[in-house]
Amino acid sequence: MLAQHVGRPAVPSVKPGEAVTRGQRLASKPDGALGAHVHSSVDGEVAAVCSLYVDVEATGPSLDISPGQGAAADPGIVAAADPGIVAAAGSGIGAATGSGIGAAAGSGPIAAASPVAGSGAAGGEAYVPIGGSTVLEMIEEAGIVGCGGAGFPTAAKLARPLGPGGLLILNAAECEPTLRHNITLLESDPARAICGMLHAMRTVQAERGAIAIKEKHAKAIRSLRGVIDRSDKISIHFLEDHYPSGEERAAIRDVAGVLLRPDQLPFEAGCVVLNVETAARIADAAEHRKPVMSKDLTLAGQYCGAAFRDRNSVPLMDVPLGLPVSALIEHAGGLSQDFGELLGGGPFTGKAVLPATPVTKTMGGLAATMPFLRVNEKMGLLVCACGADQQRLMELAAAMGGEVAGIEHCKQSAQMPNGTRKCENPGHCPGQAEKVISLYRQGARALLISNCSDCTNTVMTIADRLPVKVYHSTDSLLRTAGPGLIRRKHI
């Protein structure tokens, strides 16, 4: 995919039939524009080039999807390396790869993250090293974009030095309830993320660094402390435990005590916010001259594979970009039941994807949800900037069979000039009574909402008394694979 990031799509620099090697640049950021380069995640041959994607058929050694550490320890995951799966992969349109999966599975999550450039020591690990003389150049050369989902080109984010007192925040919020890969990375390889964080801090001349993490992620915090105890510049800052929580301005609010308006950028508070994986990829670029060729993500749902025998979300580290999501499902042993939809991302902000949809630099998760609940009541949609947007709620309502009686937006949902919405104060409810009553008056006897956990609590409190049923846009996935539904907080 040539548009995996904010800004202009990359411009293809290869031709059909051309042989490419892993790490080779396939498409370049337009000169002077906001954008990012795209690199091949496999050795192979260019099958097709168009303005949307470059399709590469893999010819080289098969690739590795490393499960997160916990999964790697589970012998059941080895089943994922079943040769039968190899045939299943590589069918998708837009896929930059047609490779199989598996041979190196079980080799552990660290191996893929610390290759030696050009060594070719392990199958599929060799790559074409990037150029660049400064870290900032290397970040741009590597095509790094915000891995948390926004996809803002990291080189552009770090291009402007912060003023005195500048603060770089490592965002380890693990914003969505089903996701685990960022925390997994910190648990297994904290030094990689901290290394990238330090490179970024030097690049933007940040005086301090803060790691924003929820206190409940104790193991990750322990492993981080093992690294940063040697630094007096980096501290750990606990975030409130609500979902979704990774919003950049929310992290700044909680760490620096400054609430930015939705139209303000972090540097106005003297801050830069980097996602954990983004920091790790900065380390890869700066230390190993490695371009972005893969993505960490969390696979959620109910699958037949042994890794899912007693759990329903497994982090997968370094999934090759361009792999169709169907390959991940096959990798997990296939679905154990009918599914409602395939969701790319987490339950709050994810969007429906097709089996052929390729893994991109911003795909944080893949989930197959249970079949949709049927709703017979007229539904009111309460749209929140923190979760599913109006379009997605309307799709969900249609999938649930509910007639839409009315649509309201959360009071704090501020419309940006580009039409998107941002929450004015994420995770802090502004009250919902007026909206709920309005929807009730419009005939809604059930609500479908996309609010954060704090706002949801308010909605539930009100709806209980009306009475109106409440469905949350995340229900379908969280019933399948979640730690629990987003519902009321009882005092």
Partner: protein, 653 residues
């Protein structure tokens, strides 16, 4: 939802209710407190109860919760650290917050209350000294900011000017009437006098309101204003018609109107969309007759001299044209919201826009090409065909040497120096059958006029006499109970009322369309606002026809006027079915024109349109607002009792 700082300051004396669950240790700010304007909604829905002893917003700001508290809980002292001393109840129930006049009168008892001066004013610019019992005895006002002017007048004055309950129907957030009295209004509660009318507002005056109170009072006291009749008055000559029949030649003599029945053939050829034209005469006793949907009621009028709005116009008395129609498939024109049925049941006879009880109706039924009933061209073709017939009668009438039965002359008098008032009439301009023809060649005609939709719905100013002389031809009778027919404009009660009002300078009538698209609505609204700003108005009345979509324009127009500090009154059908979908702070003085018992658009032609009674209430409401006298907030639901109460007051005035 939570409040802004400014809002919290305005509601310091309202109950403090948490908008969301808040944890122990929370220091309460306005962001934690629910907006009091929706309390009534919440209470109606069973979502909120406010027990006695609950604290007010002012009590709790800055206090700390001593426990976790659920959303929509009214805060009590036991929930706060230190237990927040609750002020004496009397103080809480007493004066409104500084600068606010919302509280006064809204809950006033029906019986006259003792005149406890409830001065909520931040700066006391006016003082009222009223005796406890209002009937009899003088009321003296001393107004400092008018440099010590003392005025004495009879206590009946409140009945003339003072008492006016706002009419509900304003589902919109119109709870606060605080916008009216800029700069410190003093208020005296009570002064009701209208038994059973509980929404009586307190009497007050604003020394700093934009309206020149001195001018109004001066006029009432007989001080001279510079009045100037228009150079060319308008004379309507009415010719009495006792009998109407179809014949071979159109003629009018000795009270008998004969219409050439072959005119239907001529009408048929007016447009290829017109497939059939029928005409019959319906005398008053024969109204129990089936009719297709009524598209318009039109007078027969012709200019004898001068342009529209001046000179002489000849009008047939006791006869009106009634245009009905359907398409070739048998679908009523403006299906959904059509009013086919028995004529005697489908029109509110006697309304300005309907036939009168003793009118002879010439019914022209037009069949138009199939599927064009919902397009602009279809209904327009029907109106054009009908106008062909009317024009033939106009030609005869223009040449008649019969003597008129009576004449009426309208002077378009300007009263310079008095408060400048404008009437803004919103007309439908969404296309399809929603259009209006402005200033046709002949009164209430079609030919020569410009279509509102083609003009882009932008505001167009007409003199009052241009309106009364058939300057508007209406094509808008879908939802016939709430729409204004051509005859309605010809007899518009608000134009008559304002033109006759000797206390104001009625500068004219602005017609502004209601476009289909939101962007266009905003465009039009802004154009109206610019007009208003340039006209140096002291007051305006905005009317609309229909309900629903056009209420967006209605609210926009009121805001465009109110936002320029011009007191504004809205007039609309709202009631039950047409509850306002939008609202704003300037919609605090609304006149309800519903006449249906259940509050519905009942598909009876002209039923819920503006009548002289509505006009008188609007007039009084505007003067009340212009004088800076607080208007009680609308009740939450449409209530005929409030309307009746206001009508009683208007009738007294």
């Amino acid at each position: 939802m939570s409040m802004s700082k400014e809002k919290a300051m305005a509601y310091l004396n309202e109950p403090a209710v948490l908008c969301c669950q808040r944890g122990k240790g929370t220091v309460i700010s306005e962001a934690d407190l629910e907006d009091p304007t929706i309390f009534a909604d919440l209470q109606d829905s069973g979502l909120l109860s406010i027990p006695d002893g609950s604290l007010t917003v002012g009590d709790v700001l800055g206090m700390t919760l001593n426990a976790d508290v659920e959303a929509l809980t009214a805060l009590r002292p036991s929930m706060l650290e230190g237990g927040a001393a609750k002020p004496a109840p009397s103080a809480a129930a007493g004066g409104a917050a500084p600068g606010s006049v919302t509280a006064c009168g809204a809950a006033a008892p029906a019986a006259p209350a003792p005149a406890t001066p409830g001065f909520g004013a931040a700066a006391g610019t006016a003082h009222f000294d009223a005796p406890p019992a209002l009937p009899g005895g003088p009321v003296t006002i001393h107004v400092d900011s008018l440099q010590g002017l003392d005025i004495s007048f009879p206590a009946g004055w409140p009945a003339l000017y003072g008492l006016c309950g706002a009419v509900p129907g304003a589902e919109a957030p119109v709870a606060a009437a605080s916008g009216t009295a800029a700069g410190g209004a003093a208020s005296v509660p009570g002064a009701s006098g209208a038994a059973g009318f509980s929404a009586a507002s307190a009497l007050g005056a604003s020394g700093a309101a934009g309206f020149s109170a001195a001018a109004a009072l001066g006029a009432a006291a007989g001080l001279a204003a510079h009045t100037a009749p228009a150079a060319n008055p308008l004379t309507h000559k009415y010719y009495s018609v006792q009998n109407v029949k179809l014949g071979k030649k159109t003629s009018f003599s000795s009270g008998t109107l004969t219409i050439d029945s072959a005119l239907t053939e001529k009408a048929l050829s007016s447009s290829p969309l017109v497939k059939q034209v029928e005409m019959d005469i319906i005398t008053p006793e024969k109204r129990h007759i089936f009719t297709n949907t009524i598209m318009d009621i039109m007078p027969v009028a012709v200019k004898c001299s001068g342009k529209t709005g001046e000179g002489t116009t000849a009008i047939l008395d006791r006869v009106v044209f009634c245009l009905t129609g359907l398409d070739e498939k048998g679908v009523q024109i403006h299906e959904f919201g059509s009013c086919e049925g028995y004529l005697d049941e489908k029109a509110a006879f006697g309304r300005p826009g309907a036939p009168d009880d003793d009118d002879i109706i010439v019914r022209v039924n037009v069949t138009i090409q199939e599927n064009t009933g919902m397009e602009r061209r279809g209904p327009l073709a029907a109106h054009t065909a009908c106008d062909v017939i009317v024009q033939s009668i106009r030609d005869v009438l223009k040449a008649t040497d019969e003597a008129p039965a009576f004449t009426k002359t309208y002077h378009d008098t300007r009263r310079r120096g008095l408060p400048r008032v404008c009437l803004v009439k919103e007309i439908m301009g969404q296309g399809a059958m929603h259009d209006n023809i402005l200033l046709p060649n002949e009164p209430a005609g079609v030919i020569g006029g410009q279509k509102n939709v083609d003009l882009g719905n932008v505001p167009v100013m007409l003199t009052p006499n241009e309106v009364l002389d058939g300057g508007i031809h209406a094509l808008t009778c879908i939802g016939p109970a709430t729409k204004e027919t051509t005859r309605h404009y010809f007899r518009e009660p608000l134009v008559h009322a304002l033109a006759a009002d000797e206390e104001i300078d009625f500068i004219g009538v602005i017609f502004v369309g209601s476009p289909q698209v939101n962007d266009e609505k905003m465009y039009v609204t802004e154009r109206l606002g610019s007009w208003i700003g340039s006209l140096d108005l002291d007051g305006a009345i905005v009317t609309t026809e229909g309900f629903g979509n056009n209420h967006i324009d209605f609210a926009g127009h009121i805001a465009a006027i109110g936002g320029r500090n011009v007191p504004v009154v809205g007039v609309t059908f709202s009631a039950y079915q047409g509850q306002l979908v939008v609202g704003n702070e300037y919609m605090d003085a609304m006149i309800e024109i519903n006449k249906d018992a259940g509050g519905f658009e009942n598909e009876v032609l002209a039923c819920s349109s503006i009548c002289p009674e509505d006009a008188s209430r609007a007039q009084l409401m505007l003067k009340t607002k212009m004088a800076g006298i607080p208007i009680a907030p609308a009740e939450r639901k449409w209530s005929q009792a409030v309307i009746d109460g206001n009508q009683w007051l208007a009738d007294q005035a």
